[in-house]
């Protein structure tokens, strides 16, 4: 671990700035949760309706 710390370059100067500008973690957390919920709603809509048959019939020949 210590060895790796030495190898690592210092963080670019602009990184700290972006951390300061970011909203508090709790707010960010609920944003992310809401985004995931929207995404899961979409997946519910577009996911193959008969998953079992779809997975079973997805057969490929080996390639390259």
């Amino acid at each position: 671990m210590a060895e790796r710390e030495q190898i690592r370059k210092p963080a670019p100067a602009n990184r700290e700035q972006s951390v300061e500008e970011a909203p508090p973690a709790s707010e960010r957390g609920s944003d992310i949760k809401a985004q995931l919920d929207d995404l899961l709603d979409e997946i519910d809509e577009v996911l193959e309706t008969n998953a079992e048959d779809f997975v079973k019939s997805y057969i490929q020949k080996g390639g390259e």
Binding site: R4, I7, R8, K9, A11, P12, Q35, L36, L39, L40, E42, I43, V46, L47, E48, A51, E52, F54, V55, S57, Y58, I59, Q60, K61, G62, G63, E64
Partner: protein, 505 residues
């Protein structure tokens, strides 16, 4: 000295012909590609032969080790199937039972991302065009993944131009160190295991699509006993100066950041190898086992044993390669590895390793295996599913669906590096900064006189009796800077050949 890294991807896509009474992946692939050629007016005029692929220079059986070991099987070339050269310099063809698209030669990792995205758009356009030709109720669907989950795999190969002067054994050493560990940011993620005797954790999820199919350390094969380092020695360029490292170990990526890093970091590692600038050799005690172990270690913390008895984690190995690459670019510059793009690769590489170290879930918008895991976890929790539920496997496959209306990757909030308009243009326009420019322009302007083309030559028939072959043995020549004006000034293929003859090209 490292040679400029000319780069490219060859992607084999999964294909399904839905609603067909007797689906056949070979005829479906042919139909898909022909439909695209017709829809985009790249199909030949009636009564004319198509611009075919010229196989005279193909030697996939040549082994970089010189004399292949007994029992090695050289891949066969199929010449009777659809095989088209596109105006963007790409090759679009049927390979075994898959549609495959090889990008044109690119001069840096960003350009690879542009042409890889263009290839996805070409696949989407092909599916649309095929639907118009098929009976109602039938559809051809294309997936950009590498496994059917049932033990069958198809590849996304990468190509890197390297100097012939480098001993191949040195390439094997450093390429292996990188390929075993780079999965942590370029793995596409997969439900389940396709090797016997390997345990997965309860979730049954692993980082790489491809690790289960890698069985050897070094070898010539690509369809069985697949190796970590492939020895195909077919440079498609001046063989006295160049090798082409043909990489078969990687996953196809939906994330542009992952493609950018996969190609960008590997180009850097190859430059370091050429200039012998890797501070120490990271030799794994058992590279194939290590590759599979990394794929199954979502914690990214498991120690991997080196031949000297010490251990290193995949993250540790990547930090070490990054530090070597930074030092290399600082001392020798980035001319051989894409100029300013190499600096972007280094910065992104560092940021992604930092994210993986803190919490991989931070990278759900950048790294495929993390993005897919987030969807799987969220979906499973929402519906209270068992890990074995077929819907999770369906989600895994559909992540890679290239239909915009169905693709889950397209919905996963992945960061993009190139804008859609740029990629759309790249469906028909060649890159300006490699020999693909010459190939693409010839196809755009003089397709009627081009009889055949391949990576390093174009054959013309200008009605003068014998055919004329133009050689392109130098991948960095034939760019817009070299021949752009010539194309502007030539009204016909005869003019062009005359000018090229006069210029001694």
């Amino acid at each position: 000295m490292a040679v400029p890294k000319t780069l490219g991807l060859e992607t084999e896509y999964g294909i399904v012909h839905r609603g067909a009474p007797e689906p056949n992946p070979i005829s479906a692939s042919s139909l898909l590609i022909n439909a695209y050629l017709i829809a985009t007016h790249q199909a030949p005029e009636p009564g004319r032969a198509a611009v075919g692929w010229d196989f005279t220079d193909e030697t996939p059986g040549n082994d970089a080790r010189g004399g292949a070991p007994a029992g090695s099987l050289a891949p066969e070339i199929e010449t009777h199937l659809v095989n088209a050269v596109l105006t963007n310099g790409a090759r679009y063809y049927v390979d075994h039972a898959h549609p495959e698209l090889s990008t044109p030669e690119c001069a840096d990792a960003r350009s690879v991302v542009v042409y890889d995205r263009a290839a996805e758009m070409i696949a989407a356009r092909s599916m649309e065009a095929a639907r118009m030709l098929l009976p109602p109720g039938e559809e051809i669907v294309v997936y950009k993944n590498n496994s059917d989950g049932k033990g069958n795999s198809y590849g996304c190969h990468e190509n890197y131009l390297v100097s012939r002067a480098v001993p191949f054994s040195r390439i094997v050493t450093h390429a292996t160190a990188h390929f075993v560990t780079r999965q942590i940011f370029c793995g596409a993620g997969k439900m389940g295991s396709e090797t016997s005797g390997m345990r997965l954790d309860e979730a049954g999820y692993q980082i790489s699509q491809r690790a289960d199919f890698i069985e050897e350390e070094v070898g010539l094969e690509t369809t069985l006993k697949r190796p970590i380092v492939n020895t195909r020695d077919e440079p498609h360029a001046d063989a006295a100066k160049y090798r082409r490292l043909h990489v078969i170990v990687g996953d196809a990526n939906m994330s542009q950041v992952a493609t950018f890093l996969k190609v960008g970091t590997t180009a850097l590692v190859m430059a370091l190898t050429e200039d012998d600038a890797v501070p120490r050799e990271l030799r794994f005690a058992t590279p194939v086992a290590a590759l599979r172990q990394v794929s199954r270690d979502l914690s990214l913390r498991e120690p991997l044993e080196l031949v000297d008895g010490s251990t290193i984690t995949a993250l540790g190995a990547q930090w070490e390669l990054l530090a070597a690459a930074r030092a290399y670019v600082e001392t020798r510059g980035a001319d051989a590895v894409g100029g300013k793009v190499a600096h972007q690769v280094l910065d992104r590489w560092e940021a992604v390793l930092g994210g993986l170290e803190r919490d991989p879930m931070e990278l759900a918008a950048q790294i495929d295996w993390v993005a897919k895991l987030r969807l799987l976890d969220g979906f499973r929790e929402r519906h209270g599913l068992d890990f074995q539920d077929a819907r999770l496997r369906a989600l895994d496959i559909q992540y890679h669906d290239l239909r915009p209306a169905k693709s889950l990757a397209a919905r996963a909030g992945l960061e993009t590096l190139v804008d859609e308009a740029e990629a759309e243009l790249a469906m028909t326009e060649p890159p300006p900064d490699t020999r693909a420019f010459f190939r693409g322009r010839c196809l755009q302007r003089f397709a009627a006189e081009v009889v055949a083309a391949n990576w390093d030559s174009i054959v013309f028939d200008v009605g003068e009796g014998s055919l004329r072959r133009v050689s392109m043995a130098e991948p960095t020549r034939g760019t817009v800077a070299h021949v752009g004006t010539m194309f502007d000034e030539c009204g016909s293929a005869i003019d062009l050949l005359r000018r090229l003859g006069a210029a001694g090209a």
